[in-house]
């Protein structure tokens, strides 16, 4: 054997040699028979260049000097090729990845936490609330209990299973590669492929199996080994690659265990925060609800079934938290703040203090909201809007009415049909529907017949895989083929109809023909019940979902046939714009607040109303409180949303003016861009009767706040629990924006923080007197013992309130006035005194 050849190089890649450059490098090395060894001279890490994992593990950072040694039969060629590649090609292998965390950008923690040096991981809050708990990572990496203990008697067989799994996974990635939609996607797949076909991985797997591990255990062990190595890297890029390995290992486990693995869910024993890449609805339902306090997902989709389910169950959920599974370790105590959209570690004292306050604030806020939950939702000018709930289980129906729902606007039934061997029997369905009807106690329950397509697992339907299931064989379209399934569901609904006010709704209707067929099926079900002498509500109302745009052209015909309509905005918008809402590149197109879509909605509602029929909305748009003015402007008869949001929604409605909402809708319709619609919504003045400038709840004497941050937070919270702000973050930031110009500490131990912002619903004064003086960075350097906060809603013109504010500002310069504020004993006294002084 000849002597080896070698060369050195300095890494010029700014993110070091992470997975993508490493996969290219390994690719070159793999074309030769020679052994190529890289030594990172900074840390003496040695790596086989043929192994991506080994290269990554060597943690080569920008500026590191490396030594490469090549020996073997074709060493001259290999040496030359590697040297050329590292010198010329490698530096160009690091094109930054496109896309990413749009909504996480520019987000900040509450000032109190910032001041405490806490860092948070941001995401998009999709189901509100906050909760503390210990991290439980649900990655599918955890083997189901039964499988863990399974012995592996025959290593040969286990190795065979592993090889098969590796081949299949590699094959699948190669297959995806040929369809990759962009160079970025292709590069990522290439890196995945490199890991899946890595020699270090297969060596490690073989080693584990030879030690008596089963194929599954070997994957777990090997995965954990490489993940732990990568997690130690200084480069964030490399640490991120840990999730690539996890992904590959998950795919391998999926291959090895097949269906057995799918039902795997974590066992929860204490208050827990479940962290996962993504969750299937069945996985979520399998988690012990007593201990499931919050969910954090890396996947950023906001309309998945798991998200919808979590929302309806009131489980706080933040999605799109990058690398959550790597950033948080199992057992770590964290707080998930799904009101603000971040996750922080709960170990620091200020975090605990902050959330103790938060518990009280939210409790008081709930009381405020609950006052509005009972009774119908009526706008300030007297228009009633029915506020119903979406539900898919009895549990959710109960929660809906407890939260003040006027009805169940959408009872989804497909959950009853999924992930099981056989469809539910007629009696099983009858039990569920009658339970819902009884709980509703005379209030309407709209039951939607099953909406199943190729994207949902219901094996007994025998639905073939489809290229594009959302445009495929689903909903009402499968009813002709599965006639008996529909008949049994219709009979179950009819039988339950005597127990309450049940209505039937068909999904995915696109033509009059389908409506006529559906009606014929219903007649048939009625007939068979009549023959069996089973009683039912003969004139049970029939409706359809408005989710395929074609129905918008036949309302004249449809209104002659059916009783009501419910708009499903998720599908309607994506079909209307021909833009897949799951594809981030085009999802923006199908935003429901696109002016074009708003026009379409207006046409739909107007046409249906002209025919004297009823129209509601049950899609995600109805669940977004920001859009309420638009929905009221449309003149919908009903909106149906997750139960947890009903009290707040009803409260908001009571603050709005229906007449002004029509103007808001008209302005929105006239816009060109969706962002302009946001602007229109932000600017809306329709907030109903104004509140007085000051009330006793806004006078906080004997406050225990210990810092400027806490003082501002406490006053902002007081605004929130009295309904003076809906957006604490924005109000807080407006106040701080003013503080950064220069401190509002005006001397004499007084501070007068203030801002002009649309984040307050009405002009307000907040007063806080702390037990201990607070450092405010005042002009005289002295701490403050009295804080008078002024928040003005930006109304453009000079207002009466501004006169009061200017009078207050002037008075603060008056010694006697200040002395009086310091001497006041009670909140009531303060309000009376100020009212007198500011007459």
């Amino acid at each position: 054997m000849s002597t080896s050849l070698s060369f050195t190089f300095v890494c010029s890649l700014s993110n070091g040699i992470h997975a993508r450059p490493a996969s290219h490098l390994a690719e070159v090395a793999n074309t030769f028979a020679s052994e190529c060894i890289l030594t990172n001279l900074r840390n003496d890490a040695i790596a086989k260049v043929r192994s991506v994992l080994a290269i990554i593990s060597a943690d080569v950072r920008h500026g590191d000097c490396c030594f490469v040694q090549v020996s073997g039969p074709d060493e001259q060629f290999a040496h030359a090729a590697l040297q050329r590649f590292i010198g010329e090609v490698l530096p160009g292998c690091d094109v930054p990845l496109a896309g990413g965390d749009g909504f996480a950008r520019g987000r900040t923690l509450p000032r109190v936490l910032q001041a405490a040096g806490v860092t948070g991981s941001f995401g998009l809050p999709v189901s509100s609330g906050f909760a503390r708990g210990k991290v439980v990572i649900v990655s599918g990496m955890a083997l189901p209990r039964g499988l863990q203990a399974k012995p592996a008697p025959d290593p040969e067989k286990e190795l065979e299973r592993l090889k098969r799994a590796l081949t299949t996974v590699c094959g699948r990635i190669r297959d995806k590669l040929t369809h990759a939609i962009s160079p970025t996607a292709a590069a990522i797949l290439q890196a995945d492929l490199a890991i899946a076909s890595d020699v270090s991985l297969s060596e490690k797997l073989a080693e584990e199996v030879s030690q008596g591990q089963s194929a599954g255990q070997a994957v777990m062990e090997a995965g954990e080994f490489f993940i732990s190595v990568l997690r130690q890297s200084a480069s964030e890029y490399t640490r991120e690659r840990a999730s690539d390995i996890q992904e590959i290992c998950l795919q391998l486990l999926g291959e090895i265990y097949g269906a057995e693995l799918r039902v795997s869910a974590a066992d929860l024993h204490e208050p827990s925060v479940v962290v996962a890449e993504a969750l299937a609805p069945q996985q979520l339902l399998a988690l012990d609800r007593r201990y499931l306090k919050a969910i954090v997902l890396e996947h950023s989709g906001t309309t998945s079934h798991a998200v919808i389910l979590a929302r309806s169950l009131g489980i706080p959920l933040v999605v799109g938290v990058k690398n959550a599974r790597v950033l948080f370790s199992p057992g770590q105590e964290v707080v998930v703040d799904a009101n603000r959209g971040f996750v922080v570690s709960n170990s620091a004292n200020p975090v605990q203090r902050f959330y103790e306050h938060e518990v009280t604030t939210l409790e008081r806020r709930r009381e405020l909201v609950a006052r509005h939950a009972t009774g119908p939702a009526i706008t300030s000018d007297g228009k009633t809007l029915e506020v119903a709930a979406n539900a898919s289980s009895h549990e959710e129906v109960v929660q809906a009415f407890a939260n003040g729902a006027d009805a169940i606007g959408l009872f989804r039934t497909e959950m009853l049909f999924l992930e099981r061997e056989r469809p539910p029997s007629e009696d099983e369905q009858f039990a569920i529907y009658s339970e819902a009807a009884r709980t509703a106690a005379g209030r309407p329950v709209i039951i939607r017949t099953f909406d199943i397509g190729a994207d949902k697992p219901a094996p007994y339907l025998g639905l073939a895989q489809e290229e594009n299931p959302f445009l495929g064989y689903r909903g009402v379209r499968v009813y002709a083929e599965h006639k008996e399934l529909l008949q049994s569901q219709l009979r179950a609904i009819l039988r339950a109809s005597l127990l309450g006010c049940i209505q039937i709704m068909a999904p995915m209707v696109s033509s009059l023909e389908e409506v006529l067929e559906f009606k014929a099926a219903l007649s048939e079900a009625k007939q068979s019940l009549t023959i069996m002498s089973v009683a039912f509500q003969a004139d049970i109302p029939i409706g359809i979902m408005v989710e395929v745009p074609s129905v918008a052209f036949i309302f004249d015909q449809l209104c002659a046939e059916i009783d009501f309509f419910s708009i499903g905005t998720n599908d309607l918008s994506q079909y209307f714009f021909a833009a897949d809402r799951g594809n981030p590149k085009v999802a923006g197109l199908s935003k429901v607040r696109q002016p074009t879509f708003l026009r379409f909605l207006k046409q739909i509602v107007d046409q249906i109303h002209r025919a004297g029929k009823w129209v509601g909305m049950c899609g995600e748009m109805a669940a977004d409180i920001r859009y309420l003015p638009l929905l009221l402007g449309l003149g919908l008869d009903e909106i149906s949303l997750p139960a947890a949001q009903i009290p707040e929604c009803k409260r908001r409605i009571s603050k709005l003016l229906a007449a002004e909402c029509q103007n808001i809708l008209n302005r929105a319709i006239a816009c060109v861009h969706a962002v302009e619609v946001d602007d229109v919504l932000d600017r809306q003045q329709s907030l109903g009767a104004a509140q007085p400038l000051l009330s006793e709840e806004l006078v906080l004497l004997e406050s225990t706040s210990q810092s400027k941050e806490e003082v501002i937070q406490e006053i902002v919270d007081a605004f929130y629990v009295t309904g003076r702000t809906e957006d604490r973050h924005r109000l807080e930031e407006s106040l701080w924006a003013r503080e950064t110009v220069y401190s509002t500490g005006l001397g004499y131990g007084f501070a007068a923080p203030h801002c002009k912002t649309e984040a307050v619903t009405s002009d307000s004064i907040g007063i806080l007197r702390p037990n201990r003086p607070i450092d405010w960075g005042s002009v005289d350097g002295e701490p403050v013992g009295m804080i008078v906060l002024i928040a003005l809603r930006n109304q453009g013109s000079a207002s009466r309130h501004m006169q009061v504010f200017s009078m207050l500002a002037r008075k603060l310069m008056n010694d006697e006035f200040r002395a009086h504020l310091l001497a006041v004993k009670t909140a009531r006294e303060m309000v009376t005194y100020l009212a007198q002084q500011l007459e």
Binding site: V741, Y742, L746, A752, A798, F805, A809, K811, L812
Partner: protein
Amino acid sequence: MKIVAVTACPTGIAHTYMAAARLEKIAKNLGHEIKVETQGAMGVENKLTENDIRRAQIVIFAVDIEVEGRERFNGVKVIQVSLQEALKNPEGIFAKIQR
């Protein structure tokens, strides 16, 4: 002494008026005659007339932003301070004027 002043701050909610009150009070204590124009969230109030300005021996700008209608004060002696200065040490401003 006859003095006129203008106060103005970015948000125009608090400091404009606090500074005005402060300047008025100190001037009164020192026996000066003062008129303060505020340029705040309510727009220009207590506007200085041409006559006011002509009669004034000195003009104080206690401002953090551009004074509206600055040309009105051409040819008059102007002393400009920040609003913070006017709140922190108004006596100092008057001492400077008297010197």
